[in-house]
Amino acid sequence: MDEAMAEVLLSLRHISKNFGEGDVLQDVSLDVERGEFVTLLGASGCGKTTTLRIISGLETPDAGEVILNGQDMTDLPPESRPVNTVFQSYALFPHMNVEKNVAYGLRVRGMDKRAQAARVREMLELVQMSEYAGRMPAQLSGGQRQRIAIARALAPQPQLLLLDEPLGALDLQLRRQMQIELKRLQKKLGITFIYITHDQEEAINMSDRIAVMRGGRFEQLGTPEEIYDHPATRYVAQFIGRSTIFTGTVRSANGYSAVIENENGRFTVDSAHAEIREGEICDVCVRTERMRASRTPVEGFDLPATVREARYAGGHVLTYVTTRGGVEAVAEGVERMCDAPAAGDTVYLHWNPAQAAVIGGASHGA
């Protein structure tokens, strides 16, 4: 138990905050381990930035505690916390050149000049910006400013780096490249990252764990795989990835698999992760890339649907169908347009029962 405790770097305990217009955060708790990459994912206004500002000390919670390394930091001002932030707007000091920006955190902490210069050089090398030391922020591109913001935040050797949508302003290609670089940087330095994004793909690509936030609460906290494969709520299922959700009544369940029926027909899911009983109503989430549409009925499934359209999507065909009960679904699995069903055809939806998720199953309850 002691060992497990020692691993935890940051604990948020029952944090609440409101700005006078309803709660922004409601009883948020989170343990982050040393070296971990945790992402707060959610739509704008879900409270993720407020959570980050409470960790950095730029905001004080109304209730709850922020504990770092076992020490209560709740009432410490930001300058007294070994935590640095990469701001969404980068917030580089426009009147200082790159070198002075990166050195700022060292200078105010009174590091001697020579050590400062060495550390700045090291940081600029780390983000591959050495030749830009003398430039002013206004002379840099968005991606370059981003790198300087990261170097500046890393220079004082924080125990925890907070990143507030750091890639939000970059174009897609640069964004993908920076995702890889950031992840590599984090592994290399072994620094704990808390990362904010509203981009689910980014969250899945980079994180060790993801906290999906909604309305000031954690909707689900888990590894990217857990969140993708076993969403805890309909919101998580819909926010992350593309999927179809069927609601139905459990007709039979034997602990391994369950047969569920609704107005669209009947289908089978793996119930090993879910505690479901006969007669219960439950939601089942099927990811688009796991949904299949065949021309003949498949064992265990009775989900006939009418094809609205088949569209080539590069490497695979997306088949848009409407079920008997009026649910609009998308299926993959066909590679060439000549194999795709035509509009108006009847197809039968099915999937690998192990790859469909019963929402709110037992695997994430505990």
Binding site: P78, E79, N84, S89, A91, P94, V108, A153, P156
Partner: protein
Amino acid sequence: MARKGGMRGDARRNAMFVAPMALLAVLLVALPLIYVLGTSLVQTGEDFSLGATFTLDNYKRLLRADYLQVFLNSLQLALLTTLVSLLIGYPFGYCMARAGRRWKALLMMLVIIPFWTSALVRIYGWKILLQANGPINAVLRGLGLIDKNIKFLGSYGSVLLAMVYCMISMMILPCHSAVDKMDFTLVEAARDLGSRPWRAFLDVTLPLTMPGILAGCVLVFVPSVGIFYLSDIMGGGLVLVGNLIRDQLLKVRDWNTGSAMSMVLILITAGVYLVYRKSGGDDLGVF
């Protein structure tokens, strides 16, 4: 062809808007200035008519210790006015920019309302407040802080008070606008990187709002050098450049020397503005 014609049309339209302004500027600013310059360079005839002989005597006549002292008096008063205005005006402008919407509106009103009445009337108001048997002395006596009425009027402080009172909005407004435009995420970044609030202010807020400070200083200093009636009303007994010029023009009737003094004053203020612009100061809508 069509495009070229269009551009010429634009230029003509622009000229239409600019021409009346240019005409006004020439009539109201350039011509009087040229007249003053001319007057300062010629000699007056017996019957107060202007002679046509070019001379620098009017300027040479200014090289007197007592005249120099007068210029120094004016510069000192203007400098002190600027300093006090800055010390009060910057925090005021800062708070105004950082205040909530309702407070901001209220503070802005406080700055703007004085413009609605004549400065002269407001200064007489101060005179009544400060006089020996006036309300301020009454309050101080009532509080038991003083035994005898203080003679505020006539002191250097009362002149400075009147000067600051009249000029401070010229300091508050540019300071307010500079603080208002500043991105306070930068201060948060400084705090996040380990700066205490004061350090963050000195490292980030102050340098980034410096253009506003400099603009405010120029806007207060330049008119302050020439003002003399405030000192007269408050009974300051100071001899300022303005007094000197007025006396030359209206009492001694030596228009040539008066014009030369005016030209020196204009050169001083133009010099201040030039230094300000050369050091990267913002355009104040002049040039």
